[in-house]
Amino acid sequence: MAKIKKTLLSIVFSIVILFGWSVFNSNNVNADEKVYEIGTDVTFPPFEFANDQNQYVGIDMDIIRTIAKNEGFKVKIKPVGFNAAVQALDAGQLDGVIAGTTITDERKQKMDFSAPYFKTGVVMAVGQNSSIKNFQDLKGKRVAIKTGTAAGDYAKSIQKKYGFKTVTFDDSNNVYNDVTTGNSVACFEDQPVMQYAIKTGAKLKIVTKPANGGAYGFSVKKGHNQELLKKFDAGLKKIKSNGQYKKIVAKYLGASAVASQKAHKTQNTFISLWKQNQGALLGGLEQTVILTVLSIFFATIFGIFFGMLGVVPNKFANGVSTTVIYIFRGLPLLVLALFIYTGVPNLLGEKIPAFVAGIITLTLNEGAYTAAFVKGGIEAVDGGQMEAARSLGLPYGKAMRRVILPQGLKIMVPSFINQFIITLKDTSILSIIGILELTQTGKIIIARNLEGFKIWTMVALIYLVIITLLTWLSKWVERRMKG
């Protein structure tokens, strides 16, 4: 029993330290100089996209950085994806969002917008050889749109009238691909974005005039960060009057800029792509490995603790164990990740770094599975073993530790190996909250160069290599335990 208490204490301590560390960290930054965390899309060229060095550039990026420099504040860009950015802003995880956000009345319910910084309208694009010319031609066909965008909303608003179906994607690249592969016949997108995509290689053509004219604005959570909003408005005025704004737009939409982007595209053999993106992919791999190792560590402690609670002779402890396993094994990992990252700050009023949220998510989910097989493994040990140990006068804890656990562990080893591999693969789901692990890195690279097949092949191979290594390591440990 004393052993179990110790384990409980160490878990509580680890959690306290994790939280404490994150709180301390953010306070530390605050005291030094205010750094605003600004969310943006993974890919929305020419407004935001990653360049060859995996740094975020684009009209939005240059505007926010120039304004920050002029007005004397610091920003940290978080490319979490448009949808995630809007949710994280509402949860208080981000201070502002600049992601080609069209100012709408509906969004004004939840956000405060800056003055408009870019005028735009929605256009429809189709495949280069398509015969579709107008909305009437869409009847009964499928149209690709991006989740949560004004262009998508516009498509939905006319969907009934023209009788077409919509399919939604999380980033623009998938939207274009769906049209070029012929799965969808058309897509709706903001005019400058569409133009830029076509100029840099998307095999599409624009067939409609800009409709539903709107404007992009920088946004903060309603009633929050008003100081940041004021600084942005003041800064925007300044760069519009001093010519910096014009320069930025020309840099991305001017003829020379587009040409240079196009030139980059020609060198795309597998080897050259690997050389170009090696750094970014290995960086993603590093994050994946760190996430995996930490998650396996915490999930194993969590799992052993709650698995043990399930077998001790105490009805209350058994109930706690069953409930914890039921809840966290029952929740889809994706839902759990989003809940912890966007939901918990709403409840506690305290930000959680995505990385910590990711570790907690995996600890709870993988830990619940671990608890289930730890419990099963211990229960699989013959009951006579415990009786014999107790009849010799050994207390429950000692009997458990010296007799039952060593036998149970042997039964559990294959399950542990399996769980480690699953944990490694499940880290990819954390891309949803914007952690730059291997999968998210792949997404971002593809958003830039549209080389989906080759990059996903690289990502898949990297996963296979580390899973093979992990399997070898586990088998080695297993043999050592048996010997």
């Binding site: 006579g384 073993q385 006068g393 000692k398 007799v403 060593p406």
Partner: protein
């Protein structure tokens, strides 16, 4: 002779099924008590309540003056003094034979590892298995396992040992070795309660034989009384069945 075990009106139920229906028993120091009776009569359950592997539903158990109902009594310490030998041996599968014998004295701080090893080798020699010190339990025959189990129990230097059908799971040719060890213990003055179907052992070694049926003690007495001149009808019926096969 002082009283080792005193049981008063002991009852045990599983749900609505009453297995022990009020037992009374006194066992004296150095006494060997053999319990016989048809299966399902509650013999094993009774034995297991004495070291609280089963929690009694009602009644009183006093071991060496310790009332087991008293919450201040440390059950682990009481168990140290009551050895138990199981039908299925229950040797610790993750440990070697020697480690099985050494585990509890070392874990409970009774002796150093070195002393415990000497002691374990000595005990294994007594049960005729000195060469099996480093063997794994899985490699032993049933009879060997049961003798290791007895050595393991003796390592705690118990005042009394409970035997729960110690030879029932053995091949016939193995039974003799185990019974020989038990006889040796009885002669050395160990207090024993033995649940068994070995009537020869009962006749030869028991100070007292108890016949149990349907959760009651039906009859008790010296072996020659029970086997020679049973008074209770159920006892006669049972012995008839067993002895005239």
């Amino acid at each position: 002779m002082s009283t080792k075990i005193e049981v008063q009106n002991l009852k045990k139920s599983y749900g609505s099924n009453e297995v022990l229906k009020g037992l009374d028993l006194i066992v004296k120091d150095n006494e060997v008590v053999v319990m016989i009776g048809p299966s399902g009569s509650g013999k094993s359950t009774f034995l297991r309540t004495l070291n609280k592997l089963e929690e009694p539903t009602a009644g009183k158990i006093i071991i060496d003056g310790h009332d087991l109902n008293d919450p201040r009594v440390n059950m682990n310490q009481v168990r140290e003094k009551i050895g138990m030998v199981f039908q299925h041996f229950n040797l610790f599968n993750n440990l070697t034979v020697g480690e099985n014998v050494m585990l509890s004295p070392v874990e409970l701080g009774k002796m150093s590892k070195a002393d415990a090893e000497l002691e374990a080798r000595e005990l294994l020699k007594e049960v005729g298995l000195e060469d099996k010190f480093n063997a794994k339990p899985q490699s032993l025959s049933g009879g060997q396992k049961q003798r290791v189990a007895i050595a393991r129990t003796l390592a705690m230097k118990p005042d009394m040992i409970l035997f729960d059908e110690p030879t029932s799971a053995l091949d016939p040719e193995m039974v003799g070795d185990v019974l020989a060890v038990m006889k040796k213990l009885a002669k050395a003055g160990m207090t024993m309660i033995v649940v068994t179907h070995e009537m020869g052992f009962a006749k030869e070694v028991a100070d007292r034989v108890i016949f149990m049926a349907d959760g009651h003690i039906m009859e008790e007495g010296k072996p020659e009384e029970i086997f020679g001149n049973p008074q209770n009808e159920r006892t006669q019926e049972f012995l008839n069945k067993i002895l005239n096969v």
